[in-house]
Structure formats: C-alpha cells, structure tokens
C-alpha cells in the first residue's frame, strides 16, 4: 500500500502539470517516432526506455519524447514512485489533449504564419503591433516580454512565443544535421 500526496501550487490550477511537458510536445517527437514507439509497446507491465530504444533504433531522448506525447494523449501513464511509464489506455482521441492546449495551439499558429524571426540569441515573434522579443540566456533558457512570462516567469512552463521559438530552432538544427 502506498499513499502518494501531491500538492498543487494553487487549488484553481489543479494538476495541470504547469506546462512542464509543453516543450517536449512542441519539439521533441515527430509523428513518425510516436507511431513507431506506440507500435512497439509490448504488454510488459513496465515500459522500458532502453529496450524501446534498442528495438526502434531511436536515441533514448527521442523515445522519451515520444512517450510524453503518448502520455498526454492518454495512451500510457507515468508512475512517480517507480519513475517509469506503465500501460493505461484512457478513452481520449490521440492528439486531443494536445489540440486543446491554447499555448501549444498558439505556438503552432505562430510558426505556421512564419511569425518567428531568429536573430542570434534574440528572436522576434509575432506580427505588426504584437511583436514580442524572446531571449535565450547562456544556458539556453528562453524568456519573453509577453504578459504570461511577466506574470509567471517560467513558473508555469514556456509561453507560446518561447514555444514557437523552440520549434523553429529545433527545425533549423535538424535541417542543419
């Protein structure tokens, strides 16, 4: 018998995860990776990242990103005490949770509009009167001039502008490889 006590920062926020996996959702895994990992999920009670990595031929970090995507779409769960994923199918449609996240949706829209302009450590995101400046510090952490960032300073995950910049940076580095 194990009792897990989880505290949320604020009752109104519930267990939102505070945007902790948004970055992985935005940049981590491609649909192909996710499909591949999903197909390989054997009915072991415990999901082993190293084993999946060996079978799929993907690096461990991409497998983890794919598992995050599967987790948010209700295909698998994560056991905090065991520090491991486990099988648990929820009646979600795949990608449903992702599509409902306003920041992720906003970030994808910004990227699709081509509203992200990289400029060294800085990036200008948005169009016309809505441009915000996203800055990367020495450790690569992103910060922004928008209200979301000003209020929470990263305490509730990245803002849509920072997410959009991560997505664009990720694509350019992948393209450069």
């Amino acid at each position: 018998m194990r009792l897990t006590l989880m505290l949320s920062q604020n009752a109104s926020r519930g267990f939102s995860g505070e945007g902790g996996v948004l970055r992985d959702l935005a940049t981590g895994a491609t649909a192909d990776d996710t499909d591949l990992v999903s197909a390989l999920l054997a009915w072991e009670p415990r999901i082993d990242v190293a084993e999946l990595s060996r079978q799929s031929g993907l690096p461990a970090e991409r497998v983890r990103a794919a598992l995050t995507v599967l987790g948010t779409s209700g295909q698998i769960g994560y056991d905090l005490a065991e520090e491991a994923h486990f099988h648990r199918h929820l009646p979600f449609s795949a990608g449903g949770a992702e599509a409902r996240n306003p920041r992720l949706r906003g970030a994808r829209a910004l990227v699709a509009e081509g509203a992200v302009r990289l400029d060294g450590a800085l990036a200008r995101v948005g169009r016309g009167e809505h441009v915000h400046v996203v800055r990367a510090d020495d450790a690569g952490r992103l910060s922004c001039t928008c209200l979301w960032w000003a209020k929470y300073r990263g305490g509730r995950g990245p803002c849509k502008h920072a997410l959009a910049v991560s997505m664009v940076r990720d694509t350019t580095t992948k393209a450069a490889r």
């Binding site: 441009v131 922004c144 928008c146």
Partner: protein, 906 residues
C-alpha cells in the same frame, strides 16, 4: 383610412362594423397603420373608448386563426367583452373553431385566453381542448369565478368552488385528465392550492377515486420532484392514512433515494432546506430508514443542517433498536471530532442514553465517547471525560476490559485534564503522556527558522533583459528586488545606448499597468515610456510634482512611501534625459531593502571619479537604506567608515557623516500615558495612536525623503493599502514606518496584514507600533496565517516583546475591540505550531486585565488556550486574578476554565 378615424373617435361598434365590411386582405393591410397609431396614442393623453376601439381594430386585423391566437395570448390586459363577441361573429364557424383549438393548446390562466376559448367552445360546439394548461386554467376560472360580460358564454353556477365544479358540464371531460396527471396541476410554479383543494375535496365526495389520485400524484413526484415547500403542503393536505402511506412505499423509497443523493452533494443552508423538509414530510418508517442507514451515516460529514438531520434520524433508529453497535461507532467517528459543539454534545448525550439503557453496551459506548478526547475544544473533552467517569462508576468492574483503550485515548486530552484522567483511569504506563516528556526534558518552543534576506543579483546586463524585467514589474508590483533592478537597468542602459533600449522596450509599453490612485511600483511603466520619448501619460505629469512635495498638510490619497516612490521615478526620468548619472545609488544589496555601506562607498566613489553629482532623491534613498557601521570594534566596519571619510564630494562627505552618526536616531512611538489612561479622541477607534516625534535631518534631505522619518502631518485616508516597497524604503526604521501612515483610517482596507511578514523581517527596533500592528492582526483574524507567521518570525529573531504584545491585546480588548474569541483563535494557531511558551508569555500579561469585574467576552476561550499553553510548557506561579475568578461560585465556562488554569499553575 376610415378605421383610424373610427378609433380616434372611440367608436367601438363602428370599428366592428367597418371591419365586417373589409375583406381579409384589406384588414391585413391595416395592421401596420394601426401599430403606428398605437404608438402615437400611447404617447399622448387618451380615453378608454379610444383604447378599446384601437384594441378591437388591431384584433380584427389579425387575419388567420394562428395570428389571432398569438395576439390574444400576448395581450394580457385584453378582456372578453360584448364587442368581442360581435367581432368573433364576423368569422365563419370553422375559423372560430380553429382559433379555439389554437388557444386551447397553450392556454394560460392570464388575460382572457380561457374566457375566449370557453366562449368559442360553447358557441361553436367545437371539441373541448385537453391540454394540461387548459385543465389548469379551467380549475382557476372555476375557483375565481370571474363575472362574464353580457352575451359572453361560460362560467358555471354555484356558490363555492366545489359546487361550481359539480354543476359544470366540462367536469366529466376535464376532471379525469386532472386526476391522470395531477402533478402538473399541483406543482406547477404559478400554482396556488386550489387545484389540490378541488381534487382532494372531490375525492372525499367520491367524484374522484382517491387511491388513483394518490398513486398518480406520487408517480408524478418521482418523475419530476417538486420543490420541498410544495411537497410539504401537498402531503399535509392529503393526510395519508397508514394504509395509503404503505401503498406508495415504492414511490417514497425512490424519492428518499433522490433526496439523500442531493443532500450528499450538500450546499448552503438555503439550498438544502427544501430537501430536508421534503424528506421530513415523506415520513419514512424506522424500518425504511434502516434500509438506507449507510446514506444517513454519510450525511454526518456534510454541513451542519444536513449532519444535524442525519444525527436525529440515527438517534431515533437507535432508540428503535435498529442501529448496530458498529454503525453507532462509525457515527461517532464522523461526529465527535467535528467543530460544532451542538453536534458533539448531542452525540455524547446519545452515548449516555445507550450506556444507561443497556449496561452491556456501556463499555463500547464509553470507548466511542473517548474519541472526543482528541477534540480541540477543551470543554468538550471535559464533558466526555465526565461521561466516562460517570459510567465507569456505575458499571463497577464490568467495564474493565475497555480500560486500556480508554487510557490510551486519554493521552490525547488537553494537559489541563490529564491529571484528572490519570486519577480516573490509572496512569498509562506503556503510552507516554505529554506530561511525562515535560518532566524528562525542559520544554522549549519550536520556532520557525529565521528567514535570511536574499542578496540582490548584480545589475542587468542587456537591454533585452531590462525590457523583460520592466514587463515583470508592470505585471506584478509587489516584488521589490525586481523593481529596483529594473529601475537601475533603465538608467544604466539608457546611458549606454538609449536607442537600443527604446527598441527593446517597444513590446513592453504596449500594455499599460492596471490603474491605481496611490503610487505603486508598476508606475515604472512611465519611466519606460520616457526612455522611448513617448507622449507622457497624465500620471507621469503628476509624478513630477511629487518631487517638490511639501508635506505640511495631510495628503488626500497618497502615502508618504508612495510620494517618495513617485519622486524617485520622476528623478530617474530626469537623469535619463540629462544622461549624466550612469547608474543609481539606491539599489539595495539585500531583499529587505538594506544597502551594504561598502557597496555605497564604491558607488559614490565611482561617480566622484566621473565628476558626477548624484541626483538628490536617489542619494537620500541610498542613505536611508545604508546599513549602519557603528560597531566600533568591527574591523571591516572601521575600514568602511575610513573609506567613506576619504570621499571628496559633498555626497561622499554626507555618507561619511551618516555612517559616523549611525543614521537617524530611532524614535519610540509609545504614546504618553499608555495604557493607563483612556484612549485619546477619536476614542471610537479604541486604540492609542502611536506617538510620532520625527527627526529633523541636518543637513536636510529632500522633503519627500525627510517626511518618511520626520515630523508627521497625517493623511486624510489613503486610496490603497500598504505595499512591500514601503518597508524596503526604511529597512532600518520599521518602527517609524509603522507609526506613520499605517495607523491612519486605512486600517479597514482588506488584506492589510499581508505585509506584516515583511515588517518583521526588516530591521530596526520593534516597539509599540510594530506590536500594535501584530495585536490588531491577531484580533482581526483576517489573513491569520500572515499575522501568525509574523509573530513567530519576530519571536524567532528574539525581537518579540511578549509583555508589550500582551499589554496591547489587553488594552485593545478592553477598549472597544471585544473579540477575545478571535484573538484566542489566532493565538491558538500560533501556539499549535509549537510556540506554547511564547503564547503563554503573551497571555500571562494580557489575562489579569481581562478577568477583573466582569470578564471580557470570549474570556473562556482565552482561558482554555492558557490552560493548554501553561500545561504544555510547564508554567507555574499563581495569578491572583485567575485564582479570584476560580474561587467565584457558578459553573460558567469562564469560571470552570479559570479553575483548570489555577490548578495547572500550582
């Protein structure tokens, strides 16, 4: 148009005649003109004849039966008159029958709908409408028996309602419909008791089958439960016989199930009251209640009215012998630790009766009662202990098997009662009571760790970062460190490259901060605008006036701290404009606002090298913040003072003198004569306004800065509450800070104690004003957590004067703030974190003055807390006032608790 002229002449008969001569199309064509005429007539003075003629004309212009039905329904003031008969007679019988059918479908009791329909039915012989609305309207009509105009058909003869129904030829066709779905008639929202009265009356006479009526009524209730009040009225009027009651057992069970489910969801007293009365009216038998006993048990966890109801039900079940002992134990688990005394007392009463009735169950009942030993209310613990003692005595040896359990439970008792429990139950050898631990090692309070002030990070490196920091300050104006760094960042980067900074600030200035009356940190926004050269807002113009403020009269809305802030912001704009000073002096080095003297020496020396004279308000703020270096023996302090003496500029010499003198002298704010005289006027406040002597600075500081610790002229009520930056402006003079604006009429502002943790973490002596704020916070009981936190942190810093706080509490409670129960609530919260000794030292001072003559209201709660604190920290020493109170006759809670305290202190 002839129709219009006839209407204006008020000729109703003429209108009807004219309508008869027009074809339907011609009549339809008149509708718009008549609507316009209606608008015109409604706006001017008009006669009744005109209005009736207009009504007739407009009705006549509705061409189809549907349109006519809609018109009649929507004109609630239209009445069925002789002219209406003439008008309706213009139409063929089939048309009129169709109108009757349309009206009957959705008849209402309002207006003339029913009267028109009845006339048409009787006139044309068309089928009688059968909708529920029509049946309802019919019953109302027969109940009210409105008079019919000549030539209008309808109504029924008879002196009273039932007589009319019996004489009515509609009754044979409409009454069965009413009986088939009685719920719709009885429980509709606009209903009165008449339909119910009629149905019951007719059932009594045998016209309606009573069994069928009851069955149908319950079926309707299950399908669509009515409001509780209606259900009660109905069930009372029905007065079911026992046989009938049993006959609808299934329906009642379904209703009870629904209602219990709703009560489990709980709600406010108002929300759940109807469900409670409904349940009561259904009058389930004990056997029926026993079937759903688990639901009643679950209700014991809900709000007070629900739990009280469930407790009553369970008590009656127990009396009927239908409550298993295990279920009684479970009920006790749910009830006995609830904070509501009424519930606990009632439950203990139940256990008492159980033990008396059946001695075999007494042991178990006493173990159940002993759960109360863990209750936080000492009076209830005592009551439970007395109950146990009584039955232990009555039972002799037979309760012995449960004795170890009782002994273990007694470990939870308040220390004031544990001696009595040990006498009764024997000492608990295996389980240590708190007293054992007290004798083994001396008691010591567990106080929170003293919070270390955080160091302020270095200056901001890039313009892009400055923009983000400014955005953060605009969004949240409570963070002092963020504000100070952002202000300095604006000055620094404007000096380095104003164009780059202006560009970086572009996204930030798009969003204005939320508006405020007093000056707040988010007004940094206007400095950002000034950097960009944007049009100044009205607020920025006012801000510049604050620099020249001369506080010789009370301010209308701005605090001293706010004015100082505005002066700094306005000055920063000037510094940016002139481009002289490359950074600010006043940026603190600690989150409390304190500024390290060595750092300030370096900053002034850097300005001296550049030949820059620092801006005066900035310098003044830096001086007010600089940490004193008055320790003569400390070597680094000596070095700092020596370095300051070497500074050549006026500012440098000013700092050197400041450090030499140790900054402005600390002022005591304890008012003269306190607390032995009555509070001075305005006495209604009930407190002694702090003394505010004020230091006159030599050489003078700018007026805004000097006012912070100088002579005080008061204010006329501030617009906004205190903010953390107030404290950070005077990090070594919190007493002076709290003595000034804080105790003006602003006190009522919600959330004001929120800043007390900042005050106790700040520096300087904590005297009368700081303790008065804490005493207020304890009594007020808003933001209790912040107040308790502040008291404990001040105690942990060994700066809490418990004597002073005790005297403050006594003075406030005796002079118009008679909330001793609230004060003991807050103090209990503090004590239970492990600060019993600290709280005891406050109470020891406060209590004597509160107990003389008539003890202050709420003294019992305060005494109960005192017993607990004194026992836990092993305090001894008689208090004469407590002994005197304990020696009084009587059994009031206050006297009882005083006796316990007297005994504990022996």
């Amino acid at each position: 148009m002839k129709l219009v002229e006839l209407v204006e002449a008020g000729d109703v008969a003429g209108v009807v005649r004219e309508l008869g001569e027009l074809t339907p199309d011609q009549r339809g064509a008149c509708a718009d003109g008549l609507t316009a005429l209606f608008e015109a007539i409604a706006r001017r003075e008009n006669t009744q004849e005109e209005r009736i003629a207009l009504c007739a004309a407009r009705l006549g212009c509705q061409v189809t039966p549907e349109a006519t039905a809609v018109w009649i329904r929507s004109h609630a003031y239209f009445t069925m008159d002789a002219w209406t008969v003439d008008l309706l007679n213009l139409y063929p019988v089939a048309w009129r029958a169709e109108l009757a059918a349309h009206l009957g479908e959705r008849a209402t009791t309002a207006g003339a709908v029913f009267a028109v329909t009845e006339h048409l039915v009787r006139d044309t012989g068309c089928p009688l409408p059968a909708s529920h609305e029509f049946v309802l309207a019919w019953l109302y009509d027969r109940a009210d028996n409105p008079e019919r105009h000549p030539r209008v058909l309808g109504g029924a003869p008879g002196a009273d309602f039932l007589e009319r129904l019996r004489a009515d030829d509609f009754t044979p066709r409409l009454l069965p419909l009413a009986v088939a779905r009685p719920g719709r008639l009885v429980f509709s929202w606009h209903t009165s008791e008449r339909p119910l009265e009629a149905l019951i009356g007719l059932a009594a006479e045998g016209v309606v089958d009573r069994g069928e009526l009851i069955h149908n009524l319950f079926a309707d209730m299950v399908g669509d439960p009515p409001h509780g009040a209606q259900a009660v009225v109905t069930l009372e009027a029905l007065a079911l016989t026992p046989a009938e009651h049993a006959g609808v057992a299934r329906e009642r069970a379904a209703l009870v199930d629904q209602l219990l489910g709703r009560l489990l969801e709980d709600g406010t007293r108002m929300e759940i009251a109807p469900f409670l009365v409904f349940l009561g009216a259904l009058a389930s038998t004990p056997a029926e209640k026993a079937l759903v006993v688990r639901d009643y048990l679950a209700l014991l966890d809900r709000s007070l009215p629900v739990a009280t109801y469930a407790q009553e039900v369970l008590t009656r079940l127990d009396e009927a012998g239908l409550l298993e002992p295990e279920l009684l134990t479970e009920a006790c688990e749910r009830v006995l630790l609830r904070p509501e005394k009424k519930l606990v007392r009632a439950q203990l009463g139940l256990l008492d009766r159980v033990a008396r009735r059946d001695p075999a169950r007494a042991g178990r009942a006493m173990v159940d009662a002993a759960m109360t030993f863990g209750h936080r209310e000492m009076t209830l613990q005592e009551q439970a202990l007395k109950l146990v003692a009584k039955h232990l005595k009555a039972a002799g040896d037979s309760v012995l098997p449960e004795l170890p359990e009782l002994r273990a439970a007694a470990g939870q008792l308040s220390p004031g009662l544990s001696a009595r429990a040990a006498e009764l139950l024997g000492a608990a050898e295996p389980l240590g009571t708190p007293q054992d631990t007290v004798t083994e090692q001396p008691y010591a309070d567990v106080l929170p760790a003293v919070p270390e002030p955080r160091p302020v990070p270095g200056p901001i490196a890039t313009a892009a970062e400055v923009a983000q920091e400014v955005a953060a300050v605009v969004a949240n104006d409570q963070d002092v460190v963020a504000f100070e760094r952002a202000l300095d960042g604006l000055v620094r980067h404007a000096h380095l490259d104003r164009t780059v900074l202006a560009e970086a600030l572009k996204p930030v200035v798009r969003r204005e901060p939320k508006s405020n009356v007093d000056w707040v940190q988010s007004d940094l926004y206007d400095v950002a605008r000034a950097v960009r050269g944007d049009e100044p807002r009205g607020r920025a113009v006012l801000m510049h006036r604050a620099v020249h403020i001369n506080r010789t009269t009370p301010s209308r809305s701005c605090s001293l701290a706010g004015s100082m802030l505005a002066a700094r912001l306005a000055e920063a704009m000037d510094v940016i404009e002139s481009g002289t000073q490359p950074f600010l002096l006043a940026v603190p080095t600690l989150s409390t606002g304190a500024l390290d003297a060595a750092v300030l020496v370096e900053r002034i020396s850097a300005l001296d090298e550049l030949g820059v004279t620092p801006a005066p308000v900035d310098l003044a703020q830096a001086l007010l913040r600089v940490t004193p270096t008055s320790d003569q023996s400390d070597q680094s302090d000596q070095q700092v003072r020596a370095a300051a003496e070497k500074l050549g500029s006026d500012a440098g010499q000013r700092l050197a003198r400041w450090l030499r003198e140790g900054g402005p002298a600390h002022q005591d704010s304890e008012p003269k004569g306190w607390p032995h005289c009555k509070p001075p006027k305005p006495a209604s406040q009930g407190w002694w306004t702090p003394a505010r002597p004020g230091v006159v600075m030599d050489p003078p500081l700018p007026q805004v800065a000097a006012s912070l610790i100088g002579p005080y002229v008061g204010n006329q009520g501030l617009a906004d509450p205190m903010a953390p930056f107030w404290v950070a402006q005077l990090p070594h003079h919190r007493e002076e800070l709290m003595a000034r604006d804080y105790f003006e009429p602003r006190m009522s502002q919600r959330g004001w104690p929120r800043n007390l943790p900042f005050v106790v973490e700040s520096g300087g002596p904590a005297g009368y004003s700081v303790h008065l704020a804490l005493a207020f916070g304890l009594i007020w009981q808003t933001e209790t957590d912040a107040v308790v936190d502040a008291v404990l942190v001040l105690a942990a810093r060994q700066q809490l004067d418990t004597d002073l706080l005790g005297r403050q509490l006594e003075a406030l409670l005796n002079h118009g703030w008679a909330y001793a129960d609230k004060a003991s609530g807050s103090l209990r919260t503090a004590a239970e974190t492990g600060a019993y000794a600290t709280v005891w030292s406050v109470l020891r001072v406060a209590l004597p003055g509160l107990l003389g003559g008539t003890p202050v209201r709420g003294a019992a709660a305060m005494l109960a807390l005192a017993v607990e604190c004194a026992s836990r920290c092993g305090a001894k020493g008689e208090i004469a006032e407590v002994t005197a109170l304990a020696d009084r006759k009587g059994s009031s809670q206050t006297v009882k608790n005083a006796r316990l305290l007297r005994d504990a202190l022996r």
